[in-house]
Symmetry: C2
């Protein structure tokens, strides 16, 4: 199986061609589209829909407007372009390859360790801003533009935005302030492809009439066809004359542009709403080949029309890999099912979503209880405060979206709600560092710390489907205070098996293995899987590791703790989180409270010591981007590394054998 892209030399050939300019641009962009498809297919995930819709705009900008090839990528006088929506970066990377900014091997390492992050990162050449969480781009561009004026540097700042992104309040903050501050060297361009995630913006939370809205914020606004190169050229040229205010181009585009079946919405609809299925994820083999063939045909015919000579297009074959995802357990599914079940008997239950219903497995609930499902779009602050209002009126709101956006973006709103002593359930999905492909904007390794200092919240992360059901029921029907339910978004690497007599009870975890050489507290399907692998590995060198599933991340029953750490010399905490502010900190405090310390004083030399070691395997750096296996290994959090860190013992007879087993089990 190999992945082959159209070589840079072919792009150079097109670039140096002097004929029909617009058609040449089109050809260049379609060649980038071809490479984007290959890169995403190889990565196994990525955002095709908006990569394709934005490519004509970026091709136009890089080949015609930006001065970066004249003044250099590091020049303070350079023009700056970045995408606020970020997830369209596979398209941009392909363009960067075509322009010589990125080498071939990098493009084919999309979403891989030391490759190209799933969302833009400034450590990558040519990337001007790290983005991935929506709504920040115009603000950041405003800062760059201000700095240029202050330092009397040349260059203009161009920020691409999404359309769904205009549901984020920060966009409107930045529009208002940029106009007030008369930032004249800033242009925002909306890639208005009409779909956000998998539904029409107009259905989710309509932003129209956006030209009218943005104009009322005192920006100079024009609306154009974002695929028409002549219109792009004319518009950017004309806008150079508008110098006293920020400018915005609303560019009407087609999501999935260039590949016919990605351009058309699916015939499938949901509750009368059109569904779009090419927002994220790699294409299946058939679509992949079909898409490449279609682009090949276009490229060939355009090249012929232009008389540019034959463009070398490589052959790419389908992968033929059968996805095993269908057989895997998803805690998100158990959660979605549990909500549907609970709703039957609890009519106070209401679910709020932030444009991630499908990923968060809420579609079933949405269908069963349309009158109790509130789709709020990409407006987390509004969603959380709205939930506060619902709770104040006696309902039980469940707020569900990705953890990074919920815990951080709406943090003050969560505090405000909690202060009213009502109950809101915050389901923080995509918690932890896996999947690691999307990069750090999506990997949520601070969320426990962001909820931790609230005096009235219970933080829970279940380890399998069964426990997820219990946790959801507990949150909705039993808990008397706010709950933060932490769920991984992907499939569980394995189904964690809980003891038959295990009862889900506040503050009480459960041992999954026995052992007296060390005890490890972990939580969630991803890290417990690694912990169990570590225990297997350690067993072979006669190190008995007691692995404990501790779903209660900030409530620890002291009697239970005292009993379970009895006679243990080494205590380990395996976080799917930063080492700061997670379970480890709470556990250490609880140990102190029950009179158990990590070691005796160590100060008085005359006192014999009964040492207890305490080690927190939490993250102390930013989570890396890559496959689960790459990233866990990079952070030394995979089963094998953990076994080595726990035992301190590297050279073991069984090493090869275990490593072999591990490789087979590693999550894909």
């Amino acid at each position: 199986m190999s992945y082959n892209i159209i070589k840079k030399s072919e792009f150079d050939k097109v670039k140096s061609f002097n004929g029909n300019w617009a058609a040449k641009m089109q050809l260049f962009a379609d060649m980038c589209r071809y490479n984007t498809l290959v890169a995403v297919k190889k990565a196994g995930s990525g955002h095709l829909g908006s990569s394709l819709s934005a490519l004509d705009i970026t091709t136009y900008l890089y080949l015609n407007e930006l001065n970066i090839f004249e003044v250099g990528l590091d020049s303070p006088d350079r023009d700056i372009y970045f995408s606020s929506k970020g997830h369209d970066v596979p398209g941009l990377y392909s363009l960067f390859y075509a322009l010589g900014i990125l080498p071939e091997q990098k493009l084919l390492m999309l979403r891989r360790l030391h490759g190209l992050d799933g969302h833009p990162e400034t450590r990558i050449p040519g990337i001007e801003a790290s983005t991935g969480s929506l709504g920040m781009g115009i603000s950041k561009g405003k800062g760059m533009a201000w700095a240029k004026s202050y330092r009397k540097n040349k260059g203009h700042v161009y920020v691409l935005t999404g359309d769904g992104e205009f549901q984020e309040g920060q966009i409107w903050e930045s529009l208002q302030a940029a106009a007030h501050q008369k930032i004249g060297n800033l242009t925002a361009i909306m890639d208005h492809n009409k779909y956000q995630t998998d539904m029409l913006v107009a259905d989710v939370n309509n932003i129209e009439d956006v030209v009218n809205k943005v104009s009322s914020f005192h920006w100079h606004v024009v609306r154009i066809n974002g695929h028409d190169y002549n219109e792009l050229k004319k518009t950017f040229t004309e806008l150079k004359n508008v110098k006293d205010k920020p400018k915005m181009i609303v560019a009407d585009t087609v999501k999935g542009k260039g590949v016919s079946f990605m351009e058309r919405p699916e015939t499938e609809t949901f509750e009368g709403k059109t569904l779009y299925k090419w927002h994220s994820g790699a294409p299946d083999d058939e679509s992949y080949v079909k898409g490449l063939n279609e682009l090949t045909g276009k490229i060939n015919s355009l090249a012929e029309e232009l008389k540019i000579g034959k463009i070398e297009i490589p052959v790419n074959e389908p992968e033929g890999k059968v996805s095993s995802k269908g057989e895997k357990e998803f805690v998100t599914e158990a959660y979605g099912d549990a909500l549907c079940e609970i709703a039957k008997t609890n009519d106070k239950l209401v679910v709020l979503d932030g444009d991630l219903s499908a990923d968060c497995k809420l579609r079933k609930f949405e269908k069963m209880y349309p009158d109790r499902f509130i789709e709020n779009g990409i407006a987390e602050q509004d969603m959380v405060s709205m939930a506060g209002g619902l709770a104040k009126m006696g309902l039980i709101p469940v707020v569900s979206t990705f953890s990074s956006f919920l815990a951080a973006r709406a943090n003050e709103q969560i505090y405000n709600n909690a202060g009213e002593q009502t109950k809101v359930i915050y389901t923080c999905q995509f918690a932890g560092m896996i999947p690691a492909g999307p990069g750090k904007s999506h990997q949520s390794v601070r969320d426990i710390s962001l909820f931790g200092a609230l005096p009235n919240v219970t933080i829970i992360q279940p380890c399998n489907a069964e426990e997820t059901k219990w946790a959801t029921e507990y949150c909705v029907n039993e808990a008397e205070e706010n709950c933060m339910l932490r769920l991984i978004i992907g499939p569980s690497p394995e189904k964690i098996v809980l003891p038959k007599d295990y009862k889900f009870k506040v503050g009480v975890g459960v041992a999954l293995t026995e052992g007296s050489d060390g005890i490890l507290f972990g939580y969630g399907p991803v890290m417990l899987h690694e912990a169990l692998l570590a225990a297997d590995y350690l067993k072979k060198i006669n190190f008995g590791l007691k692995v404990v599933n501790m779903p209660w991340l900030n409530k620890i029953n002291k009697d239970w703790l005292k009993e379970i750490v009895k006679d243990q010399k080494k205590i380990f905490v395996l976080e799917d989180h930063s080492a700061v502010g997670g379970l480890g900190d709470r556990l250490l405090n609880a140990l102190v409270e029950i009179g158990i310390g990590p070691s005796s004083s160590g100060l008085s030399r005359t006192t014999p010591r009964h040492e207890i070691e305490f080690t927190n395997f939490g993250l102390r750096e930013y989570p890396e981007c890559g496959t689960p296996w790459e990233v866990l290994a990079y952070h030394k959090l995979d089963g094998k590394s953990l076994a080595q860190r726990i035992s301190g013992f590297e050279d073991i007879e069984e090493k090869e054998k275990i490593a072999q087993k591990y490789t087979e089990d590693a999550p894909q």
Copy 2:
């Protein structure tokens, strides 16, 4: 000295009067204004300007529109009113007193423990939503309105907003989503009094033309005179016919309405901008008497005009208390001065403010370096991302505002910036629980935890002016990563004296007292003051407490720590923060890392123990509202309580004497 308000019986008299309706409303509102002035003067702080501007609107609503007196304050069919800007609550409390919702003794306990919180709290009768941080109200009202529809309850939801508040992005999120969701039982009213904090909205970050803006978001909008009762009546009546969309009334009002000199902006201007001085704070004696006299005159003449009979207006005298604020040390001033000084030699330094320049002592910088001062208004997310853009272009941005708003509201933006590996300095002012008058929306006791899990941030809280200068210099000129500078906003209770040989060095604190019976780590002027009082107190019972100033809240030098805790049996941490996620957690981890544990195992009965106790005096509940002394005592964090908690010894010979000394020293 006594504080006397106009009695409820007088309000009843007016209410039952059947003559000129509009004049009667006016009279009722002016009587509320009188009581508002008395309540704020007694409290020593509070927001007069917008309490007065909003009073005609609220008087109209409670006396004419809301059904709460018919259906009851707890009825699910009740109409709901609350103020999103919250700080206008002294006016609302006065109205609540006039209407019998609150008793007299409560009104005169504004900003006191077990009295009335400085910002609205739902635990107070009649208060429908806890507010105080801006921008959340329409979202919350939307939730309430949605719940009413879902449960088929009657009643309409009215949300009052500020005008400066329309700089917050969440407002626009909520406007867009409320229109999309067709929330027809919701009306927002803007108390458009033109000033935010102390400057014109038009100067800070202009929101005009707000009618056009909000209309473009598909709301039904009208603009009226918010002091004209006939216009209010007509408008609210007409709006009842608009049922298919949310409605907004932009009510033009005058800040400080009813007291002539509070209505007029000061002649004082700043950089050509008009300054308004009655936004917050109690009036001085002269203004207090003048204001009461003016209102008395108005009330008398209106009563006479209406032939309503004499309204009993009590006599109130000036307090005659001399403020000692001028002599006290403000760390904020040292910070502002330091920035001005550093800017002389570092032209990369740029300061950003979120409409709190005066409180945050940035006016001097603003004046000296207008081209390096960015006033961003009440738009923290935009401000933080803008700072990210500035940093990306090589500048050193210092973002300065209240900690609650900066650390929580812009948390995801802070994470995004930090991920770019640039340096931004976040000055989190109003950190900690004192002053406690404003209530929990402003008391910032989660901010350390909100920054803590960032891998590249240094968190510092200096204890006096000198250390603030060093800390500011360190952040701007030396630090290689992001800094979070934590400052109290009020005067320091005393000037903390640092040893002469103390050097400000990363991770290293300094002992302020010597003692070997226990060591206490504290930080910041407020809590170190209490710690020193505790040490004084303990000294008299021969308990030697070593008080350590530890300004580095997440960086602890291990060698220094080992040395300073040597031979100590009891370790205490005094947080000006929640017990979760503050210095205590980091210190406990550091102790473990250097092999010092709070106790020996406690598990093996045969091992002799050398016990070390570790106690974290952090908050485990929401911070209370009240005077500093009341609140510190309530949380058992005042010097005396601390001495008792540390010694475990309540009945001491010296107790009376010490308590006496303490009372004299307690912050006012």
